[in-house]
Assembly symmetry: C2
Homo-oligomer: 337 residues x 2
């Protein structure tokens, strides 16, 4: 982030025809985007959304309300345009890319899917490491390549989404490992478990966490209890920031990936903008840990990057107001008496 | 609102390719819009924004940080495109109309302003009724005419905004009268008063409220301590709902107008969608009274309809998701196991 552009943006906000501070959170958003893009006129016209998908061996423990085949089926739904993120990307005129890191059942449609298959899903993290160090490297590198493609396509904002039946179990386990918290403090219903299901999920995560040598090491945590798509998201965020791309963070699972990425590269943190606080109860704790104030709070719990996509218009409006409003001098409006 | 369309919309939401409830607040928004528009495919492509502006005699008591001439100057800024609401309307491709109900200084630009001048501002509500019964009728009728023009132009959503130096004093006084609350409970800094300024404002409102015969009568409250633009907003909301137009309510002042309108016509309430909770401390109390759950909370306190305009993309996204997402059957995605 560029301090000169931040100062100039702050000075401009004070001259726009409105009482100082009256645009609330949007003023700070515009100023930060100006600093991050090192531009007097921040813009988010070109948005790149990448959805990373993969299956999870931990589904053998009965941690999801949906069958595993849904991961591949939803990959097809993403590229054929019927999923929530497909609809939102279309209306945002955003570039939507779907990266398959490995599913149990192949997607029924694969045209338009970026194939980065590592394995047909992770191993069962309740009993063994989810992935080998080599598989972790492959997932991180696949994320970085996605960020590179987004940057090359001229994107000004990067949104990462995820799809993977069972992946809130993996995300909660990674969060517990990184934060040294017990499983129950960061485990919730995901896409729709009842109370008994959540209890089972907590027990599975506790078993997984007991296997750990050095849980707070982010690479160890990702390999031991992570998912291919979670690791790829971490790689993508590091790659996006390294290329000067602002990252808009989605919900619980993506925030876990962002936390792992920040632990790996603390200089990433200023590049992260947080879109929403999800209904998953652990999300608010992660946001506090990252000192993040999300823009929206709409009880979302879908994933796919959908919550971030929902916040894009607000960021664009913040830029438009910053860039296009008249100043007191230009408009001939008197300032405070 | 049409109960059959509500039922059909609920049934459709359950078949879309997402876990039930995972789009959170947006699902209920889409269902309500389907019921209000009596449509299986709710849409908010055509949005009408009307900003009502007027001056306030109570400014003689020193209740605002800005000089009164700013009201007319901002009317010019609205129509020449430099104000926040001008920028937002342009990006929403919305119809923006500015209605002048009477200013102390004429707007330096009047081309494109709808002239509904009643008087060069209200009387000083601290010492006399703000307006006569005839002036109140004129303001309500001007609002109704604006709603009629929006409906004739084919709008599917009506946004009302306001501009008037001193109008948070008037709005707080109307709210106190309608709710039978003391001045201090619903009075805040407005566009930027300090602690002493707020104390002065509270004293002014207390003086005004002591003059009242029957403060809870909404017409009496509007005439005695209201403003031309606040009364016009109430008239516009009643007129919009009567014409089947969904109303998106802005911040504190507009919510006071909405409350007065609901007291006059309780059948209006279902037509009101609430966009945001503003930084003005009294707003949350008004929202509670109206059992309203706003979509955004961004510490906004600008007015002009800007907070409502900021929420329009979210409503449009809720409609797009409802209308365009694939169902489980269409996409060949398995439902919960």
């Amino acid at each position: 982030p560029c301090p000169q552009h931040r100062e100039r943006a702050l000075a401009r906000q004070a001259r726009l025809t409105k009482p100082p501070g009256s645009l609330g959170r949007l003023e700070g958003v515009a100023v930060e985007l100006a600093a991050l893009q090192a531009s007097d006129r921040p813009d988010l016209d070109a948005v790149a959304i990448t959805v990373f998908a993969a299956d999870h061996g931990v589904c053998a423990e009965g941690v999801s309300a949906f069958p595993q085949a849904v991961t591949g089926q939803m990959i097809a739904n993403f590229v054929t345009g019927g999923a929530a993120i497909s609809v939102l990307a279309r209306h945002l005129d955003a570039r939507l890319e779907v990266v398959n890191l490995g599913t149990v059942a192949p997607p029924p449609v694969s045209d338009g899917v970026v194939d980065e298959t590592i394995a047909p899903g992770t191993d069962n993290l309740a009993v063994r490491p989810a992935m080998s160090p080599e598989q972790l490297d492959a997932a991180l590198a696949a994320g970085d390549r996605a960020a590179a493609r987004a940057a090359e396509a001229g994107a000004r904002l990067f949104v990462g989404g995820e799809m993977g039946i069972g992946n809130t179990t993996s995300a909660s386990a990674v969060a517990c490992a990184l934060l040294g918290k017990p499983a129950r403090s960061l485990t919730g219903p995901g896409t729709g478990l009842d109370r008994y299901g959540v209890g089972r999920k907590v027990a599975v995560i506790e078993r997984a966490l007991r296997r750990h040598a050095d849980p707070r090491d982010p690479l160890q945590a990702l390999a031991s209890v992570g998912g291919f798509e979670i690791a790829a998201l971490a790689g993508a965020f590091i790659g996006a920031a390294a290329r000067g791309l602002v990252v808009l963070v989605d919900g619980f699972i993506v925030t876990v990936a962002a936390l792992a990425a920040v632990r790996l590269r603390p200089e990433l943190r200023p590049w992260l903008v947080f879109s929403h606080q999800s209904a998953e109860p652990g999300h608010v704790r992660l946001l506090q840990t990252l000192e993040a104030e999300p823009l929206l709070c709409l009880d979302l719990r879908l994933g796919e990057g959908s919550g971030a996509a929902l916040a894009v218009p607000l960021l664009r409006q913040a830029c438009a107001l910053h860039n296009e409003m008249a100043t007191f001098e230009d408009a001939g409006v008197q300032d405070r008496s």
